[in-house]
């Protein structure tokens, strides 16, 4: 799909000059969006031989996180095997704090240049995620946001006082479900 004459002329003009500006050749005024568009600029700094590798296809978040988890698991496995090997190799009695031993060995290794010592836990995207909350949850009114000492047994909505309860009584079931969803409670009835 070739763009019409005007754009083609523009492209040619741009290709000739080093720094292209969207000067209209006289045919028509470029619209604002055309002026803002970057499509017609030459990009010589890009490598024309670059082909999108296999990994370029956009993966969804789930796959990426799954990969990370896999990798982490493999690392742990590998380290465990390494540790066992070392023990077997050394022939020493089982040390309670294997880590410490490894740490010492690693420190010795660190004397040699170019070795990075892995003494601490390796943080990954998943490992630094915050744990679930341990504090007891405070109840806030689903409708108003104030404190909610009460809960409606029919809809499980929390409410602040009598008048809010009157409001809740007149809510449709779908509206009640929306309120619950905002709190993160999704009553899915299969």
């Amino acid at each position: 799909m070739w763009p019409p004459k005007g754009a083609a002329k523009k492209k040619a003009a741009a290709a000739q000059e080093a720094v292209a500006t969207a000067t209209p050749p006289g045919e028509y005024e470029p619209t604002l969006s055309e002026q803002l568009s970057y499509l017609q600029y030459a990009r010589p700094f890009k490598n024309p031989n670059y082909t999108k590798g296999v990994g370029r296809r956009t993966k969804i978040l789930k796959t990426v996180l799954g990969q990370e988890r896999e990798r982490e698991r493999q690392e742990r496995e590998r380290k465990r095997l390494e540790r066992e090997e070392k023990e077997a190799g050394e022939g020493e009695a089982m040390d309670v704090d294997v880590k410490r031993e490894e740490g010492e060995k690693a420190k010795a290794k660190a004397a040699t240049p170019g070795v990075v010592v892995v003494e601490e836990e390796v943080p990954t995207y998943l490992s630094i995620e915050a744990p679930p909350s341990l504090l007891p949850q405070r109840h806030y009114c689903d409708i108003t946001g104030l404190e909610a000492p009460y809960t409606d047994p029919r809809t499980n909505l929390r409410y602040h006082d009598k008048s809010v309860y009157e409001l809740i009584k007149n809510l449709s079931p779908s509206a009640a479900k929306d309120y619950l969803a905002a709190r993160g409670v999704n009553p899915i009835v299969k």
Partner: protein, 743 residues
């Protein structure tokens, strides 16, 4: 919280939603000063914004650049309909084309860099903007951000892009919050960077806490909360949509984020704040009114004279119709009169013999004399009635006589007997009508007497009268409430009322309904219904029958209330049943002020009162919004707990807050009051420092760092990339670190 808005001032300031302005094209940067030099290129790849620029100003090599290009990190590839041109729009330029907004792509998905097509295009646009044009590769070492503990997939693909597509000589990744910390705690020019501190970084889709020990970010002890500005904006949007379910216009996420940035703030003590907001006055004082664009409906207002003209026309039409009807009636009456005259004449000209008379009659269409007489009588009656209507004269109704009724049956022959029966019926009807009329009159007299009595009472003993009426009103209201409560109870299957009802039904339908003894006496039959009172049970069972009682009660209530309203000065509209039932609490009407139906302007307003603090509170307890994660307070506690007291003391001297969402007011106070209780009392907690410019300081820190010598030490060069792949990086104080570290 403190606000300067109306408190007692009638006009509350209304904030108008900003209309997005069209972006203006800006020229590309001049590349000449940088061409050939290997000035580091600094890119802060943020989830919301992309900040890029050279690390030095065009003027001199030593002066660090402090103003990067900032653009929304999104691109849109769009094919325009009108001219058929393809467009590549970057950042804010997407606003210029409404169709492009649906094609928008961002490299980031929440927290993670996923879409590399979009990233490639964004970087293209960035480099083009900087003016890079005539080199085969991008010949500048690049300092780029990545998120804290980025997944390796993201990093490897970014490296692939940078090295293979753009051919940069070297690439170094860093964590944005650490660089912002560096910027604000820069060592004197010769010293090493070794400050301790606690960095709290607010990002688009996450919030992280990173401890800094001796200038090094201890990433293994860092923690990330999956809650950021993006989630908070969504939460604000959701709550406002729930609050205004019938809002006429759609609220876009961009508008929601504008609302959050301008009106939301952190409360130092959330519980205290919402307790204060229980009072309707406090709610009103703390509210912000946001006016959304609306369109007034075009009302064709007829002027006074037009209305008068229309009314006049209608009246004339009515009159005309009336005239026509009157004429018709007149004509019919005349026709009837003519007929009657004709018949009378017939009667006069009646021939002597009966047979001839009969033939004449039959000729006219009458079967026999009787029918003739009847028709004549009817005509006379009609005419009389018609005349009466026209003249409106009340003629005294004559007493119909029933002569035959007195004559005993034996004396009458067949016809006369029939006649007598007829007369009896007529008399019965007439009597009944008389009785009814008399009763009605009596009723009317009674009512008048009653009213007179009441008036007397009212005039003489006002207090007694009003008290009596009020008691009646209360009784009726109580009855109505009882009834509605009963109705509600019946709706619930398990309530006592419903179960009692079922028991009644079951007893009625039971086989052995009749008592054994009674059965023997009555002969084994079920005598339900013999006694009239038995049928009353159906009123109890039938749930739908209440309406007639309700209506009665309601109309009674109305009359009492009207009387009270008219005569009793202390009984106001507020005491009436209608007012009491429709009374919404003051708190709710301050929470969401209702507007009239036709008030278009009012109905497109959003009042933000509790939401202003509620949204920000989610950072400290994401559980409010359904995200099962520890809040910022808990995370801070957890992170600090892993350090010894000495280290802790050093770190809390220098608590640093960065990231664009940290611009929300009240944050530093809140963090202080969160940290203070979890630290031992003797430990000194320094003032919480917010970055000088929370959005740009990360970039500035990077630019400053890029100009130092250390920068060249840590970058991964192209050769190293080709040898080791895209996941390897060198571990340094400002960067990520995971398994794939380069030896």
């Amino acid at each position: 919280m403190s606000d300067a808005t109306a408190d007692g001032v009638p006009a509350v300031p209304v904030h108008y939603v900003p209309i997005p302005t069209l972006p203006t094209p800006t020229p590309r940067d001049d590349y000449a000063p940088f061409s050939g030099t290997r000035t580091p290129l600094v890119i802060d790849n943020g989830a919301t914004q992309l900040r890029f620029g050279f690390s030095t100003t065009p003027g001199g090599k030593d002066e660090a650049n402090t103003s990067p290009h900032v653009n929304t990190n999104a691109i849109a590839k769009y094919k325009e309909r009108k001219h058929g041109t393809s467009l590549l729009l970057f950042g804010d330029a997407i606003e210029s084309e409404s169709g492009a907004r649906s094609q928008i792509r961002t490299p980031w998905e929440g927290d993670v860099l996923l879409n590399f097509d979009a990233l490639e295009n964004a970087l293209d646009c960035a480099f083009l903007k900087l003016g890079i044009c005539d080199t085969e590769t991008v010949e500048h070492p690049v300092l780029m951000t990545e998120r804290l503990c980025s997944p390796l997939h993201s990093r490897s693909l970014t490296s692939e892009l940078m090295f293979e597509l753009y051919g940069v000589p070297s690439l170094l990744y860093c964590v944005d919050s650490v660089m912002s910390f560096y910027q604000n705690n820069k060592p004197p020019s010769s010293g090493a960077f070794d400050t301790d501190g606690l960095v709290i970084s607010f990002n688009t889709a996450s919030t992280s806490v990173i401890p800094m020990v001796k200038g090094k970010g201890l990433l293994s002890h860092a923690k990330r909360i999956p809650w950021g500005a993006q989630q908070a904006t969504d939460y604000l949007l959701k709550t406002t949509q729930l609050k205004y379910p019938n809002f006429p216009t759609r609220v876009t996420p961009a508008q929601s984020s504008w609302m959050m940035q301008n009106f939301c703030e952190f409360a130092p003590d959330y519980l205290e704040q919402i307790r204060r907001l229980r009072q309707p006055d406090a709610l009103r004082a703390g509210a912000r009114i946001i006016q959304f664009p609306f369109a007034l409906p075009v009302v064709e207002e007829k002027t006074e004279e037009e209305l008068a003209r229309v009314a006049e026309r209608r009246r004339e039409q009515g009159k005309k119709l009336q005239e026509i009807a009157a004429k018709n009636r007149q004509e019919k009456l005349e026709a009837k009169e003519r007929d009657r005259d004709f018949m009378l004449k017939l009667k006069e000209d009646r021939p002597d013999t009966k047979r001839e008379w009969m033939s004449v009659l039959r000729g006219e269409g009458f079967d026999d004399e009787d029918s003739f007489e009847q028709t004549l009588k009817k005509l006379e009656a009609d005419i009389k009635r018609g005349r009466k209507k026209d003249t409106d004269v009340e003629e005294p109704a004559e007493e119909p006589t029933f002569p035959l009724l007195d004559v005993p049956d034996a004396d009458l022959d067949e016809d006369q007997l029939k006649e007598k029966k007829k007369q009896r019926l007529l008399k019965a009807g007439y009597d009944a009508r008389l009785k009814a009329r008399r009763e009605k009159e009596k009723e009317r007299e009674e009512k008048e007497a009653e009213e007179r009595r009441e008036e007397d009472e009212r005039e003489n003993n006002f207090g007694e009268w009003s008290r009596r009426l009020r008691a009646e009103q209360e009784a009726i209201m109580v009855r109505m409430k009882e009834r509605s409560r009963r109705k509600a109870a019946l709706a619930d299957r398990k309530s006592a009322a419903a179960q009692a009802r079922m028991k009644n039904i079951a007893t009625l339908a039971a086989d052995d309904r009749v008592n054994k003894k009674k059965r023997k006496a009555a002969g084994g039959e079920d005598m339900f219904g013999a006694d009239d009172a038995d049928w009353a049970i159906y009123r109890k069972i039938n749930t739908a029958v209440e309406s007639s009682d309700e209506e009665e009660d309601y109309s009674q209530l109305q009359t009492i209330e009207n009387k009270l309203l008219a005569h009793d000065p202390t009984f106001t509209l507020a005491h009436t049943h209608a007012a009491i039932t429709s009374q919404k609490s003051a708190m709710l009407s301050a929470f969401r002020p209702p507007y009239e139906e036709g008030d278009v302007e009012g109905n497109t307003r959003i009042h933000l009162n509790v939401e202003r603090w509620r949204v920000c509170e989610t950072w400290f307890s994401p559980g409010m919004a359904g995200v099962d994660s520890a809040g910022l307070g808990e995370v801070l506690q957890g992170v600090l707990a892993r350090f010894s007291d000495a280290e802790k003391a050093r770190m809390v001297q220098n608590v640093f807050v960065t990231g664009s969402p940290s611009k929300l007011p009240g944050l530093t106070d809140r963090i202080y009051s969160t940290l203070r209780p979890i630290l031992p009392p003797e430990m000194h907690l320094g003032e919480i420092v917010r970055a000088a410019d929370p959005s740009l300081d990360a970039w500035r820190g990077m630019a400053a760092f890029a100009n130092t010598d250390e920068f060249s030490k840590y970058g991964v060069t192209k050769e190293e990339y080709e040898e080791l792949g895209g996941e390897r990086i060198k571990r340094w104080w400002g960067g990520n670190w995971n398994q794939s570290v380069s030896p």
